[in-house]
């Protein structure tokens, strides 16, 4: 990572910047008082313009418990005005993590991306107004929306998410480049296998309660979760 050479290591300011596979990691020391951290942040924002670029930033507070007021101040004084793209909030304190999750913030270690996120959104979505028959295959760098069925023996591969308006009986692989934050949505799910990122479903069958129903499939806590889609 090229930013590793520019990384600052100044523990006296209470914040360490590290270049990582997914972007920058800001490690906040546990000891310095709140005010000192904010003045360090203001200095960093001015000195490190890359912070407000497209680069993702992980905020790692180690063992420091954060109050809701502190999180809000961090957002309003640093993240929002600096246009910082926060990939994830990391803290060892359970209460803080609960607070962050309840606020809808991303938590947990981010997965390094194999292609840039910007490239993916630039390639856009592919919308197919037809069904895919057995032996037909669609591959797209981005999201795929199929207004039709995906028959048994057809294959859909997307680096983003996959949405099948009709019946999904063939193979769908979303998050082809390893991103597991994507979803597979099907209007009627009858597929023997589904793949998301590096996860492959095991032993799907007509015995499942959501078989033949609309479903949404996500990856949570390292497992594939299938839920009946209720709109």
């Amino acid at each position: 990572m090229s930013y590793a050479a520019n990384s600052r290591n100044s523990p006296e300011e209470g914040i360490i910047l590290k270049g990582t596979g997914y972007g920058l990691r800001m490690i906040f020391s546990e000891d310095p008082p709140e005010e000192e951290l904010f003045s360090s942040l203001r200095r960093l924002s001015a000195e490190v313009p890359v912070l407000s670029g497209n680069l993702g930033v992980v905020l790692d507070f180690q063992g420091r418990p954060l109050t809701r007021a502190f999180i809000l101040r961090l957002l309003s004084e640093f993240v929002w005005p600096g246009n910082i793209r926060v990939l994830s909030w990391i803290c060892l304190d359970g209460e803080t993590m609960n607070n962050l999750r309840s606020m809808g913030a991303a938590t947990g270690e981010p997965v390094p991306e194999r292609t840039g996120r910007g490239e993916k959104s630039a390639s856009g979505s592919l919308i197919l107004h037809r069904s895919l028959r057995s032996g037909q295959r669609v591959e797209h760098d981005g999201d795929i929306l199929i207004i039709g069925h995906v028959n048994d023996g057809a294959e859909v591969f997307a680096s983003g998410s996959i949405c099948v308006w009709g019946r999904l009986k063939g193979t769908a692989h979303a998050g082809l480049d390893g991103g597991e934050e994507h979803t597979v949505v099907a209007g009627l799910f009858e597929a023997a296998q589904v793949r998301l990122g590096s996860k492959v479903s095991a032993s799907l069958g007509s015995g499942m309660e959501w078989w033949g129903k609309p479903v949404i499939i996500t990856c949570e806590n390292n497992s594939l979760i299938v839920r009946e889609l209720q709109l």
Binding site: S131, R133, S134, G135, N151, D152, G153
Partner: protein, 254 residues
């Protein structure tokens, strides 16, 4: 799933309906249409001989003496699928178009060159599938390839339907097959022992009018010729079983 049998039966039914018909065996190296039509001992030349200039088209055509206007154009048994190319098949079909009302090309199994050569000269396509999951998947693959070749319309014949198995839930229903394949239905042929007997005797069923499969093939031929023929329900197994006994008891006959 019954391509050659279906070809022979439709060819006979169309010829009996007064049309000038040729059945072309496009399965080079594994020819069977001559045997099923009962014309194997009259084959002298084949269509590869025609394409290579060994003989003229009329020398290779085998006329069926049992019905007016029915001809067979056999395949070579001693060659392979690579003996012809797409351009030659188109040339052959162009020659036949001048002479016949209907040209039925019996395609070999598979999706390789043999299938493509058989399909390339055709205007329309008929896909034969049995109501089984594996057959429907294969038919779906074939339909996808035919669509990509621009063949239209592509119509479906559901072969060897067993109504009693469908009722027990052990066989796909016609509506299930149509739902998956999403093409027009040309006909439904019920399972019928007389099909096997007729194939072995070399007498296509449609020479007679008696068996259920024969009637089904005749309806298919009429639809190909442009007539609007309704689809009957195949519930003939009502002669046995509890409900049939009840119906008899109450004096209802269907």
């Amino acid at each position: 799933m019954g391509k050659t049998t279906t070809t022979s039966n439709i060819a006979v039914a169309l010829a009996r309906g007064g049309h000038r018909v040729v059945a072309v065996d496009a399965d080079i190296g594994l020819r069977n249409l001559d045997v099923i039509m009962g014309l194997e001992n009259r084959v002298v030349y084949n269509f590869i001989d025609v394409l290579e200039g060994t003989c003229r088209l009329h020398q290779a055509l085998v006329r069926d003496k049992r019905v007016e206007n029915l001809f067979l154009l056999p395949a070579a048994q001693t060659r392979t699928k690579d003996a012809v190319n797409s351009a030659q098949m188109e040339e052959l079909c162009a020659m036949l178009r001048k002479e016949f009302d209907f040209i039925l090309l019996d395609s070999p199994a598979g999706i390789e060159s043999g299938f493509r050569n058989a399909a390339v000269g055709a205007d329309e396509a008929i896909v034969i599938a049995t109501p089984e999951v594996s057959s429907v998947r294969d038919a779906d693959r074939i339909i996808g390839l035919l669509e990509s070749m621009g063949k239209t319309p592509i119509r479906l014949v559901i072969n060897r339907l067993r109504p009693n198995l469908v009722r027990q839930g052990d066989m796909l229903e016609v509506s299930d097959v149509l739902d998956i394949l999403a093409i027009d239905l040309l006909g439904i042929v019920p399972e019928d022992d007389s099909v096997v007997k007729a194939s072995n005797r070399g007498e296509p069923l449609t020479f007679t009018d008696t068996s259920p499969a024969s009637k089904a093939f005749q309806r298919i031929a009429l639809r190909i010729a442009g007539e609007d023929v309704p689809f009957p329900k195949f519930d003939e197994d009502r002669s046995s079983g509890f409900f049939a006994a009840l119906r008899k008891f109450f004096g209802r006959t269907e």
